[in-house]
Amino acid sequence: MTVSAWEAFWLLVQRELRLSFRRPEQLLQPLVFFLIVTTLFPLGLSLQLSLLRDIAPGVLWVAALLSALLSLDFLFKSDADDGTLEQLALSGHGLTVIVAAKTLAHWLVTGLALVLVSPIVGTALGIPVGAFATMLGSLALGTLTLSWLGAVGAGLTIGLRRGNVLLSLIVLPLAMPLLIFGAGATDRAISGTNPAGALYLLAALCVFTCTLAPFAAAAALRITLE
């Protein structure tokens, strides 16, 4: 009658999703932030469409990173505050499974949601429809990588007051390669050159963090749980 790690993983993903939908404001805040920040640029700069296209990838990616960062603070904090994290840690499944499930669920409700609304932002910034596929793909890889990096940072900072500031300071420098390759890929797609190189590098970063970050985040959580 014991539960396999896989079953525990999916049960926890379901729990996280249900909790997210019970708190829709937590879900919508990063998305609205993303939409507002990106619309501020064309309004504030009153640029020519061609100039707007030049800065669009950078604006899109910086806004995406910041809004994904907004939601990272919630990743483990509420579970740590109400004591459910201890219950999860004692569930007999190892913290790696717990971290992986929570991070995946977190990405589904924040990163993936952000990817899905990005065509609206892309249109507002004048990104041609032909570049949407690259934009969506790069954002999906980038936000997933960021969620994993964020899990390590969030694991390290849950025990701290004002931990969210420290979290940004830990995660943003690590996210720089994402910004460079992500914006690079989108930029190339807009200018009509082949974005494959930058996308491959993003995918490599994503695989790298997916495989190593769960262990690092589990170790971080184990330290903060003590």
Partner: protein, 209 residues
């Protein structure tokens, strides 16, 4: 070093918190069909001891063994065999009492919703099953957390102040649950300030500063 092969043994455990030497060589043992009552003034490390025994906290010195094996080397098996109820009830306010049980018990063992409802019934909060945990009173939340301990069907119970926030009937209920658990060969480690008047073998561990 003596190792108990049929229960839980804590062998000269030392824990420092910064400069404070919280646990100073604590040793205790509890076997099947027995209960260990941990008592002592505030701040003497009762909860710390419980966290060490659960495996959440690693002692700087000393060892905790379960069925003769160190809990560090058999962490997952050991944790699957224990049910821990911390001082706070550890419920998600946005989930109903039943959902809380479903998601936390479900990580340990496969259980049907009926079993979970029965556990809530046993602790007298069946009527709250479909209410969000955040609207429950402190006593009701404590009862839900006790229902979780029952539903996990673990052999080792680690309870931190299970009598807190409970009315007379609730305290009676905790005593009955502990007796029933121990009578069926279970083990329990209970942190409580009050005297435990239980009809079972109760070992005592008094912590002093």
């Amino acid at each position: 070093m003596k190792i108990a092969t049929e229960g839980l043994a804590v062998d000269s455990v030392h824990v420092w918190r910064g400069d404070r030497h919280v646990l100073q060589g604590v040793s205790a043992e509890v076997h099947r069909g027995e209960l260990l009552h941990v008592s002592g003034p505030n701040g003497t490390g009762k909860t710390t001891l419980l966290r060490v025994v659960s495996g959440l906290l690693h002692p700087e010195q000393g060892i905790v063994t379960w069925l003769g094996q160190s809990i560090v080397s058999h962490r997952t098996d050991y944790q699957a065999a224990l049910a821990y109820a911390a001082h706070e009830p550890a419920l998600k306010g946005d989930l109903t009492a039943l959902e809380n049980l479903h998601f936390s018990v479900g990580m340990k063992r496969r259980s049907t919703l009926q079993e979970l409802r029965d556990a809530l019934e046993r602790t007298g909060v069946a009527a709250c099953a479909d209410l969000p945990a955040r609207v429950l009173s402190a006593g009701q939340r404590r009862r839900v957390s006790l229902a979780r301990v029952i539903a996990m069907r673990a052999s080792l119970w680690l309870l931190d102040e299970p009598y807190a926030n409970l009315d007379a009937a609730g305290s009676q209920l905790v005593s009955e649950l502990l007796q029933a658990h121990v009578a069926t060969g279970g083990l329990a480690l209970v942190v409580a300030h009050r005297e435990l008047a239980l009809a079972c073998t109760v070992r005592r561990l008094e912590l002093n500063s």
